[in-house]
């Protein structure tokens, strides 16, 4: 299928990109990896009049740690994360997710930031960002702001990015050696969006209690959700099987999925529970805690 016609711009600086976005407003879309946008355009589900291709922008492909944060520039592709040895060994949650987003070829083009901006309710990065307590850096003509992921994710395919703005970076806190995480996804096949998926990240205190925890679930509501009640149950506690079960049940409670070919409401709710449980067990296991 053939996309509708559009005007194409290839800015060479973020300033220029933002200016174009300001100029064309809602008519314009950023083209990052194109792995969501182009298929949508081929089906003519999206018919933007103007595309602002950011792929040639310099200095947006950085992936570096600074001030306790992993900074992921807007042109960092999924594979940059997937093939990054240091990230793979220290960022357990991110390592997990980087291997199950889309398919291996799509990951060569798809960007982490683009996925977060696209904010598909079944996307994998949003739940991950929730569990990891990530932040988004957004640039507009008026300047730059940083936003907590919970504020950034507004609704299905909707973020807090305003007309005339673009995201330039996602930031993930650097995990210490007492921190681990896991991403548990069930999909019908490689390249399928999740039937349900859960992201967890937790930090153990010296005494073995859970110091900090993040739990996100995706594909079970109109947007990725934080399982706040589950986090609350575990925070400050020594993890036990019963506590984990109870925390996982919180995921099922808040899940409100649409039934579709991937599964009924009941099934997806139950999977939110099972996958959160599994993620917690796996993350703890990676810290040497057997449940």
């Amino acid at each position: 299928m053939i996309p509708g016609a559009f005007d194409y711009h290839r800015p060479s600086s973020v300033e220029e990109a933002v200016a174009l976005m300001g100029q064309y407003g809602l008519e314009a879309r950023i083209l990052a990896g194109g792995q969501s946008l182009i298929p949508a355009m081929r089906y003519r589900l999206a018919q933007p009049a103007v595309l602002v291709d950011i792929n040639k922008l310099p200095n947006l492909a950085y992936l570096s740690e600074e001030n306790g944060m992993l900074r992921v520039g807007a042109l960092v592709r999924d594979t940059d994360v997937e093939f990054h040895q240091d990230i793979q060994s220290r960022y357990h949650l991110i390592a997990d997710v980087s291997q199950v987003v889309a398919d291996p070829i799509v990951r060569y083009r798809g960007t982490v930031v683009g996925s977060l901006c696209h904010n598909d309710p079944s996307g994998d990065w949003a739940a991950t960002a929730i569990a990891a307590r990530a932040q988004m850096v957004i640039r507009g003509q008026g300047g730059e702001r940083t936003e907590a992921i919970d504020d950034f994710i507004v609704d299905s395919f909707t973020t807090s990015i305003q007309e005339g703005e673009m995201a330039v970076e996602a930031r993930f806190p650097v995990p210490n050696t007492r921190t681990s995480g896991a991403y548990e996804k069930i999909e019908r096949k490689v390249g399928d969006y999740a039937t349900a998926a859960a992201a967890v990240q937790l930090e153990l205190a010296q005494d073995g209690t859970i110091k900090e925890i993040g739990i996100g679930v995706t594909a079970v509501a109109l947007k990725a959700l934080r399982v706040a009640e589950g986090e609350k149950l575990l925070r400050g506690q020594k993890p036990t099987r019963d506590l984990i079960r109870a925390a996982a049940e919180e995921a099922a409670k808040i899940a409100d999925p649409n039934p579709d070919a991937r599964g009924s409401k009941e099934y997806k709710k139950d999977m939110a529970r099972v996958l959160v449980g599994r993620g917690l067990v796996k993350a703890l296991g990676r810290l040497g805690v057997k449940i």
Binding site: Y8, G34, K56, V106
Partner: protein, 161 residues
Amino acid sequence: MQITLNINGQDKKMDVEPRTLLAHAIRDAGLTGTHIGCDSSSCGVCTVLLDGNIPVKSCTMFAVSAEGHPITTVEGLAGSNLHPIQQAFHDQHGLQCGYCTPGMMLSSVALLERNPNPSEDEIRFALSGNLCRCTGYQNIVKAVQQAAQAMNQPAGAAADD
């Protein structure tokens, strides 16, 4: 609009619309070894290499965006001899109808460059963005293993079989 794409080492000037998909641009340039099999970026029969070793689905990229990035298609795999992956697909019966084969081989080449000694699981993982409807993948896996072996042999020690 006028663009120049470097395909298999040759600069090709072409007149495209911004919406022209890279896959169509490549095919319109007469290089029909790059195929199209879906509209949802699912099948991978359109896979080409960008910048030498980055496999991309050429149906999910606009031709204009590929300017400045050398492109390798199946037609550019062989030099004066077949590329080891081509020989291996033949030797191991890694193709039947041949429709997925160009994309499959290019994804394999990218894998081998990154990981010269992949295990069967790693091969199956890396090729899971390319569908094949004919072979059941088993002989494709064998072909990649053969190619890995051939490519790991020190230069000059080329097997004669």
